[in-house]
Symmetry: C2
Amino acid sequence: MPLESSAAPAPDLRERTRRAVRAELTDVALDLFLRRGFEATTVDEIAASAGISRRSLFRYFASKEAIIFDSLQDVGERLAEALAKRPREEDPWVSLRHSFEVVTAYNEDNPERTLAFWTMLEETASLKARHFEHLMRWQQLLVPDIAVRLGEVEDDGAYGPCAPAVVGAALACLDAANHAWLRSRGKADVVLLLNEAMHAVRPAEF
Amino acid sequence: MPLESSAAPAPDLRERTRRAVRAELTDVALDLFLRRGFEATTVDEIAASAGISRRSLFRYFASKEAIIFDSLQDVGERLAEALAKRPREEDPWVSLRHSFEVVTAYNEDNPERTLAFWTMLEETASLKARHFEHLMRWQQLLVPDIAVRLGEVEDDGAYGPCAPAVVGAALACLDAANHAWLRSRGKADVVLLLNEAMHAVRPAEF
DNA sequence: CCCGAAGTGGCACCCAGTGTCAACCCAGTC
DNA sequence: GACTGGGTTGACACTGGGTGCCACTTCGGG
C-alpha cells in the first residue's frame, strides 16, 4: 500500500507519517463500523484489518470511540472562529445561525458519507452520548463570545445562565435540523430545516 | 439492619423486597461514589460493601451507571405528565417552563445531595454522557405534545424540526440554569435562573 | 558510525458485563 | 411431611475495552 512517498516540504516528517497512519486507521475503522456496526466490531479486528498491533492502535487513539470523533475535533474551533467574525452589533441568534454554516457545509460536501455516519450514531446509544459531549464542548467554545454580546460577563470571567442557554438552544436547533434531515434520508435541505427550527424557537431575520 | 418489617398491604412480596434491595444498593453505591469517585469505585467493591455477589448486583442493575440513573428514570414521565396538564392554548414555551417545576422541585428538596450528585456528574465524562442520554429521552417524551401544540404533526405521525428544536432549546435552558446553580454552589435560586435563561432565549411571561 | 529518542509489538493485567449451571428458598399441593 | 416448580443466588468462565511494562527496531542527528 503506497502511502504517497514524501515530496512536500513538510512540518516534520514523523508528524506527517503519524497523520497519515491516523487517517488510514479511521478509514479502515469507519468502513468496518458502517458494514458491521460499531459495537459488533472489535478493536482487534480493526487493528488486524489495518495490519497493526492492538497496542499500537491505542497509541493513535485513546479509545474506540475516539477513532470516530477525533476527525470532528476541530469543528468546534472553526465554529468559534466563524462566530467571532460576525459583527458585534448583530443579534446573537442570527450570528449563531450564520456560524452554523460551517457545519451545514460539512454535511453538504459528501451527503452519503455523512448520512451513513449519523445513522450509525443514531443506532448506538453510547455514540449518541459521545456526540452530545461534543456538542457541549462546542457550547463551551461559543459561550464566551455570546456572553460578551449579551453583556453578561462578570468580574471573575464567569457568566450567568443566559449565554449558555442561548448557545445551547441554538445547538439544539442544529441538532433538530440534523435529525429532520436524517429522517428525510438526506432529501431535505439542511439549511432550510435549520432556518425553520431556529425561527420556531426565536423568530428572526436570517 | 432492620428493613421496616412488613406491615403495609403490599403489591406482591417479592417485588417489595426487590425494591428494598435496590434502594439499599443505590445508597451503598452512592456513598462509595461520593467518597472515592465514580471510576475509582469498582463494582466488586460495591457488591462486597452491600454483602451481595457481583453477579447478583448485575441482576438488579444493568450497568454500573444504571445504579445512579435508575432512580431518575421516571422524571421524564412526570415531566411529560406535567406538560400534558398545561392548557392547550398556552404558549408552548411557557408550558415547558411550568412543567420544568417538576425538576426544580426535585433540586430544592434536598440541595446538598443534589449538589454532590451534579458535581460528581461534572467530574466524570462517561456520566456526563449518560446524563445527556437522559435529557435526550426527556426530549423524545415531550416532543409529541409540543408538536401537537405547534400543529406540526404530519400524516405518518412524524414531525418537522420545530418541535424537537423548541423542546431541545428549553432543555438547554434547564441545563444552563442547573449549571449556573452548580457554579453558585447551590446559593442561587434555580427558579430565578431558569426564568432568566428561558427569557434570554425567548422573551415570555411566566 | 554510533547514540538516543520515538515507535512498535507482545504480554500480563484490570475492570465491566454476560452466559451458564448447580444450589437454594419458598410457595402451593397431595 | 415429602414433592415440585418458579424465582433468586453465587460461583466460574469468558469476552472486550483499555493500561503498564519491557524488549526490540527504526530513524534522524552529531
